[in-house]
Amino acid sequence: MKRFRTYIFIALTLAGLVAIGLFAGRFVVYLSMRVFILSIFALGYNLLLGRTGLLSFGHAAFYAGGAYGLGLISIHVTTNPLAGIIAGVALACIMALVIGFFCVRHTEIYFAMLTLAFGMMVFSLIWNLRDVTGGDDGLIGIVRAPISLGFVSIPISETSHYYFFVLFCFILTVALIYLIRRSPFGLVLSGVRENDLRVEFAGLSVRNYRLAAFVISGAFSGLAGSLGALLESYTNPFSAHWSHSAEPILVSLIGGMQTFTGPIVGSVVFIVLREIIERFTQNWMLWFGLILLVIIMGLRGGVVGGIAQLFRRERGHAAKSGGSR
């Protein structure tokens, strides 16, 4: 019964998302794509934060890796977005592997500071390598050429067409993260979060598992970066800035980092709230900060975690008072 309800919920959500692509106005479509991209970023990131218990301040570097990887391929080699995305994700993976190699030797604040340091190095590299990255001008002129798969070619230059491509990547990400969380590997990652010494004494190398989680989350950051660059047809050094690294952290916290859907819900809240608040006031950060404060202090475990808790309590009351459900 519960399973049935979950399927219905998923089907309705999918139908709703497709409907947005078909019928909604350009602005809503654009905003939804930004939600998807941030969700991909945060879902991957939360594998590291919520699952493995590592707080990274450097994931914007991998986002930028994805964006610049795609941009450079698209400008210099081929405009086929698939090639660009593969290059972007691969670049993000390599960066995550190298940076992660040094970072996973440490935990907690040392890990966080190391990732921050590496992130800032990547930012200043992008800023200073003018010949390659365009410096503070960024990469301009990334085109959304059709995705050609040899026999068919799918146009994505129209916003509404690109929407379905981003939606596809989003669903793919959700499915992959869902599988990883339920896999033996996912279980070991929660073990690392709970008690790394004990994992070591189970005969598993904690360092390797941390690194694997780091690279996987980096890969999804790279995917998000590639999609973001295609969406804006442009990318700039601030995609690697540490303030951008804070986004997946905030989003995971808002939604609930111990929940699967938390990062998605958090992304919706983050982007929609920001859009609304920006219409009324210049200093949106002040109001946004206040709302964040309420969510984080008021709802333990984020929006999803908090709501789940409410439901459970309600059901508990019903059971106690002899409710028939």
Binding site: I180, S183, P184, N195, F201, L204
Partner: protein, 253 residues
């Protein structure tokens, strides 16, 4: 001659001026249940920490089944079959009891790296986890979150996790500390049973002399990082030196 399961050659360790181990030479044979005793600060925990890989040695060598493991990281020693349990509760508090045991079992079955297959589909792993849970008597609690277990049950779980890696040699650091008599009997029976099966050799650090003398084939007495007596329980009970070290404590009755 057989190669001993674990061999320690002139192992030394000092923390500043405090000597925790001084030229310790020991060999543990397979199937011989050994207890390590000694007054507080004798260096028992330091010895176990060095053997299991938590602490680097100052000098000396450690051989496991003939292979030099002196500088091997913890997880590789565990893979070879050398594991330990801890004096304080050391479990995965937010995971279920089942998952607590499942992590080491996955490691043993080399399934821990599987990325996309649901863990619930690993039938053989599940079977073995249930077997371990039965063994330590926690089968009924398999869906309980480990951190909410009673202290004694958490200790049982701790021993269960250590057993789940199928060690050839298992160090138990005060395995029954904080247990009630029922749990204590269960753990001791487990140790005795497993030891007789011969798959696992136990080395126990204990304070409770009843346990030491009822279980052990061999007793090693440490004092200020030096082995002062090593033999059967009768040898140790008779030893004047041991008596002197434990002076004033009613332990040799």
């Amino acid at each position: 001659m057989n190669i001993p399961l674990l061999e320690i050659k002139s192992l030394s360790k000092a923390f500043g001026k405090v000597i925790a181990a001084s030229d310790v030479n020991l060999a543990f044979e397979a199937g011989v249940l050994t207890s390590i005793i000694g007054p507080n600060g004798a260096g028992k925990s330091t010895l176990i920490n060095m053997l299991s890989g938590s602490l680097p040695v100052d000098s000396g060598r450690i051989f496991f089944q003939g292979a030099d493991i002196t500088h091997l990281p913890i997880h590789l020693r565990v893979k070879m079959g050398l594991c330990r349990s801890f004096q304080v509760v050391n479990i995965f508090p937010d995971l279920t009891v089942f998952d607590n045991i499942q992590i080491p079992v996955l490691a043993v079955h080399r399934r821990a790296r599987r990325l996309f297959r649901p863990v619930a589909r690993e039938a053989r792993v599940r079977e073995e986890v249930n077997h371990v849970l039965d063994r330590v008597g926690l089968a009924a609690e398999s869906r309980t979150v480990a951190g909410t277990l009673s202290h004694g049950d958490q200790r049982l779980l701790e021993v269960g996790i250590a057993l789940a890696v199928r060690p050839r040699l298992l160090f138990l650091d005060e395995p029954t500390a904080g247990m009630n008599p029922v749990e204590r009997v269960r753990v001791l029976e487990n140790i005795r049973g497993l030891s007789e099966e011969g798959k696992t050799t136990f080395v126990i650090v204990e304070h409770d002399m009843d346990i030491v003398f009822s279980l052990s084939d061999r007793v090693v007495v440490l004092h200020h990082g030096v082995v002062i007596e090593d033999g059967t329980k009768e040898d140790v009970q008779k030893s004047a030196r041991v008596r002197e070290v434990y002076l004033g404590e009613e332990v040799m009755t």
